[in-house]
């Protein structure tokens, strides 16, 4: 194993350095309110006792991540005080001195070391069947670029401002450990990850079922079905112990202070609406639009009294509480049921026909996509939980590569509204072009003996993104409608992208469910 890892390092270093320099170049770029969110958390964790972390509410951006993230902010604040002490004062709302910006940006850039390490470990897991002499055409190299230079991660972390690089680094590392059959380590990493950001709960079913099925049961019957006698209690106990102790370390102090309900209330704020202000491109975006179309038709046909239509419905897209006029209104519970139903087949498949780590990864992506499609108050950024792990599948399988291209392109495009400021527009377009051209041509070159990775309708759909961008961000703002209907471009982007995301979700699902046979390479331990 030593030789390949050494070979990995040689070409990985310039890739990491190059992207790091690009990130540094983006330091003066626009940063969103998330910048202030994290500054506020630095201040809270630095200047208040633990007992008040989840009660403090001077700023509207209260602490709503799990405890490990709070501790992480606390550690950062220890260094932050050498940059600018003022940023650590809770009352200094919207404080953004040059030193503060430099510190916060650098902290994101430096924490991406974790991400790079995760990428390196993942690259080691890539199937080496298609070893090419040319380094640039090796699957591992392409995977490294797809992950390290990922457009979504670059703009969300280094322009918009968040710490996703760190979190996805842990996720990738945990996936890599699963491929290397170091299951306990993987479980430990994932448990820690969930206590950093609870959004990863969405992919927890894949972890739970896979570990239970393929780790706790040590043997399979000849046909691949479950051998009940091979259940290993010690393995289950080890797993349970690891997960329990991580949660105990994280939540223990708050439980002992009797604050658990307050912490949970902060973590799961169901008071927010079904959709974020800008609709994430998922099923509910289509649902809302369908509702609007139907209501317009009904009003035309005089089936519906216009007076009954609430105001929010007519200006929808800007108001968080969206009243459905014709279709049923959706409750948080309904979204939960939909999500569970949507991931059920994938989870069942993982249980009934285990196919080793590859099957696990497929299930993980499907869980992420399912919850993205049907979840309550989903952010557009959550699509990265599906795109990044799917990159691993894309470099190994031609079909997955096709799906990846559609999902990544539409998913990344749907992030465009995050950066709405003039100076950043050329940057997001340039980076998007860079990543899209690379992913298309590199994956095409990887599977060069076969046909084009996307078929004609798919290509037409994807090229439609170009006129969409021109209309929504260049032509439309110049027209008079911009004043009366400012939400139309967002709506168009969200609906157009949700078609692509839904399509690639279904495509991936079909390919997973119909994939022939069990993986013969999987060793029953």
């Amino acid at each position: 194993m030593a030789a390949p890892s050494e070979r990995c390092w040689n070409w990985l270093v310039p890739l990491v350095f190059g992207v790091t320099l690009l990130k540094c170049l983006l330091i003066p770029a626009y940063h969103s309110t998330d910048f202030e969110v994290h500054r506020n958390w630095l201040a809270i964790t630095h200047s208040l006792p633990i007992s008040q972390w989840y009660y403090e509410a001077t700023s509207q951006w209260t602490l709503d991540y799990p405890p490990f993230f709070a501790w992480f902010e606390y550690l950062l604040s220890l260094i932050a005080q050498y940059f600018d002490k003022e940023m650590l004062v809770v009352q200094n709302l919207n404080y953004a001195s040059d030193a503060t910006i430099l510190f916060q940006r650098l902290s994101v850039i430096i924490m991406d070391i974790v991400f790079s390490y995760g990428v390196l470990e993942c690259c080691k897991c890539v199937n080496r069947r298609k070893e090419s002499k040319e380094i640039m055409e090796r699957p591992a190299f392409i995977l490294a670029v797809l992950l390290l230079w990922n457009f979504g991660l670059l703009i969300v972390d280094h322009i918009h401002f968040q710490y996703n690089g760190l979190l996805f680094g842990v996720l990738l590392l945990s996936i890599a450990r699963m491929f290397q059959e170091r299951h306990l380590e993987s479980a430990l990493l994932f448990a820690i990850l969930m206590n950093f950001k609870h959004i990863f709960l969405y992919v927890a079913p894949a972890y739970g079922i896979y570990l239970l099925r393929s780790y706790c049961f040590t043997e399979n019957k000849l046909g691949g079905s479950i051998q009940w006698k091979s259940f290993s209690c010690s393995r289950l106990f080890a797993l349970g112990f690891i997960v329990f102790s991580v949660f105990a370390v994280s939540f223990g102090p708050f439980i002992s202070m009797g604050q658990l309900s307050q912490v949970l209330a902060r973590l799961f704020p169901f008071k927010r609406g079904l959709c974020h202000a800008y609709w994430a491109p998922n099923f509910w975006a289509l649902y809302n639009v369908m509702d609007k179309i139907l209501s317009v038709i009904d009003v035309k046909l005089q089936l519906l009294d216009p007076a009954r239509l609430s105001k929010a419905s007519m200006t929808g897209g800007l108001v968080q509480e969206f009243q459905h006029a014709v279709l049923l209104s959706v409750s948080p519970f309904a979204t939960l049921v939909c999500t569970l139903l949507s991931i059920m087949p994938a989870v069942l498949q993982l249980w009934l026909r285990p196919r080793g780590p590859r099957g696990f990864l497929q299930c993980l992506v499907l869980c992420a996509l399912g919850s993205f499609m049907f979840g309550w108050h989903v952010h557009e950024k959550a699509i990265l939980i599906a795109i990044l792990p799917l990159s691993l599948l894309a470099v190994e399988n031609r079909k997955d590569a096709g799906t990846y291209l559609i999902l990544a392109t539409t998913g990344h495009f749907s992030l465009f509204p995050l950066l709405f400021t003039g100076p950043e527009m050329p940057i997001k377009i340039g980076l998007m072009l860079l990543f899209t051209i690379y992913s298309f041509s590199a994956l095409q070159a990887l599977f060069r003996r076969e046909r084009s990775l996307t078929n004609l309708p798919e290509s037409i759909y994807l090229s439609g993104l170009i006129p969409l961008e021109v209309i929504c961000e260049i032509i439309y703002p110049l027209t008079a409608w911009q004043q009366r209907f400012p939400f139309v471009p967002l709506l168009l982007i969200s609906v157009y992208c949700s078609l692509g995301v839904t399509y690639s979700w279904i495509k991936l699902y079909i390919s997973v469910l119909t994939e022939p046979g069990t993986d013969k390479k999987m060793k029953a331990q």
Partner: protein, 506 residues
């Protein structure tokens, strides 16, 4: 991967980097009353749009030449006029006469940055792509050279950070060179005339163009074909000059006034701290004070002429394309080091031909380009461009060492010094240049640049020597440039003279 996707990737990287640099402050941002080059360009838009053409270069009640008066040739003025029309359609306040002085806003910044971006994309970038596309070598290497050449930090920082339109004049000069490369001599001459009429600094490149064309005509024989060619070129040059200067040819007074604005003798031997010989000499001897201004002019003229003469003569005798590029380096470097009234930004004129040698002599070219960027450090620091300077310089070092393996190419063959060392060995039999010596020198030089950059960015100079760091930077750069001048002269002069091929039929 296919060629076109690779070119697409190279383009999107270089465009993104350019725009990311332009997010930083420009020269003179928020510094009344004079502001900086950004305000100069905006002011020219205001002048050219609001005043009749015969007042552009004159001091009148509505055109105060003391406040960023127009001192570039007519093409720059026309360019400003076009930009002004666009500005007018967006927001007339930006170019309102008098009242718009020192106008600054985010929208205006985006507009101004976009004009540079468009000019770069329209003139300079295609020229570089076209040039490297027609170089010899494997596809991969060409793409790598494109990336490296397009990411040269000096030009990006000055145009998209500090704010100027060098990419236009340099791009036009490059189109001139391309014209000669493809044997479209007339096209090349027109392009170079346009470059000259955009920025008078292009005179640094004029002699090699002249010598190359003259040499070419001489080769064809001054009695037949060559003479016709020479006359054609001369006519084309005259016509394109006349075309650019048409509005100013109405009276002698107009033309003289423009010329006087273009070549201000009274501005002194050098400005600020420049990495050239006169500025460096001033550390020991205050040249500006000791010598009379007229003597300074003659001295600098003589020194420049002496240093560029060998290269020019060689080029006239043996007009090869390789020699042409080397002569461009030598002449522009001589001008930069020895001529009168040099700005630190003028090093870009020497950097352009070195960029063209990047894929042939990656080691020396990388070194030179890094030093040239470093030599502008005091200026960049003044503009608040420390971050993009650091990042783009490191990135340039990274990509040239990764893609062109610049740091490995140190053998005599790679440095193209075989001819020279053979010549020397005739006198000194055991003469060798050990490769590790070159590497060591490069490393030391890079470390020194890093240290000097760090010190100038973070430390306050001692109170009795307020200019200590800029002087150190310019001394350091000057020594390097002198060595580079020597190296490129050796390269050019040791180039073998090819006899005229026998087949005269074609």
């Amino acid at each position: 991967m296919e060629r076109w996707s690779l070119i697409g990737i190279v383009l999107s990287v270089s465009l993104t980097v350019r725009w990311a640099v332009s997010l930083n402050p420009y020269s003179g941002a928020g510094k009344p009353p004079m502001f900086g080059d950004y305000e100069a360009q905006r002011h020219w838009q205001e002048i050219t749009f609001n005043l009749p053409i015969h007042q552009w270069y004159f001091n009148t009640s509505s055109n105060n030449l003391k406040y960023w008066g127009l001192d570039y040739p007519p093409l720059t003025a026309y360019h400003s006029l076009i930009c002004a029309y666009v500005a007018k359609s967006i927001n007339p306040e930006w170019i309102a006469l008098h009242t718009s002085r020192g106008f600054e806003s985010l929208g205006h910044k985006i507009f101004m940055r976009a004009t540079v971006f468009v000019a770069d994309l329209a003139v300079y970038i295609p020229a570089i792509l076209c040039y490297i596309h027609h170089c010899e070598g494997p596809e991969r290497k060409k793409i790598s050279s494109m990336l490296c050449a397009l990411l040269y930090p000096g030009l990006i920082l000055i145009d998209h950070g500090h704010f100027q339109y060098n990419s236009v004049s340099l791009g036009l000069a490059l189109w001139g060179l391309l014209g000669l490369l493809f044997d479209r001599v007339l096209f090349g001459s027109v392009a170079f005339c346009l470059a000259l009429n955009y920025k008078q600094m292009e005179l640094y490149h004029a002699l090699p163009f002249f010598c190359y064309l003259l040499g070419n005509c001489l080769k064809k024989g001054l009695k037949g074909e060559g003479l016709i060619r020479l006359i054609k070129i001369a006519l084309v040059v005259l016509i394109s000059f006349a075309f650019c200067w048409l509005p100013f040819l109405t009276s002698l007074q107009q033309s003289l006034q423009v010329l006087q604005r273009l070549f201000p003798i009274d501005r002194g031997l050098f400005e600020d701290k420049v990495g050239n010989v006169w500025c460096s000499l001033s550390v020991l001897l205050k040249v500006k004070k000791v010598l009379a201004p007229a003597t300074q002019v003659w001295l600098s003229f003589a020194a420049t002429l002496l240093t560029l003469l060998p290269s020019c003569i060689k080029l006239t005798i043996n007009p090869s394309l390789k020699g042409f590029k080397l002569a461009l380096v030598n002449c522009s470097l001589s001008f930069f080091l020895f001529s009168f009234q040099v700005h630190e930004k003028s090093i870009l004129l020497a950097a352009l031909p070195v960029l063209l040698l990047l894929h042939e002599i990656p080691f020396m070219a990388t070194w030179f380009l890094l030093v040239s960027t470093f030599s502008m450090l005091p200026l960049l620091l003044k503009d608040g461009l420390l971050l993009p300077y650091t990042v783009t310089s490191l990135a340039f070092l990274l990509i040239t060492t990764t893609f062109l393996s610049a740091f490995e190419k140190v053998s005599l063959e790679d440095l193209q010094l075989e001819q020279f060392s053979q010549g020397v060995r005739r006198c000194i039999p055991h003469f060798i240049i050990p490769p590790c010596l070159a590497k060591l020198a490069f490393l030391l030089s890079v470390i020194a640049m890093v240290v000097l950059s760090l010190i100038s960015a973070t430390q306050d100079p001692p109170p009795q020597l307020p200019d200590l760091f800029p002087v150190l930077v310019s001394l350091f750069s000057c020594i390097h440039f002198l060595i580079f001048l020597l190296y490129f002269n050796i390269l050019h002069l040791s180039e073998p003279i090819y006899k005229k091929p026998q087949q005269k039929v074609i």
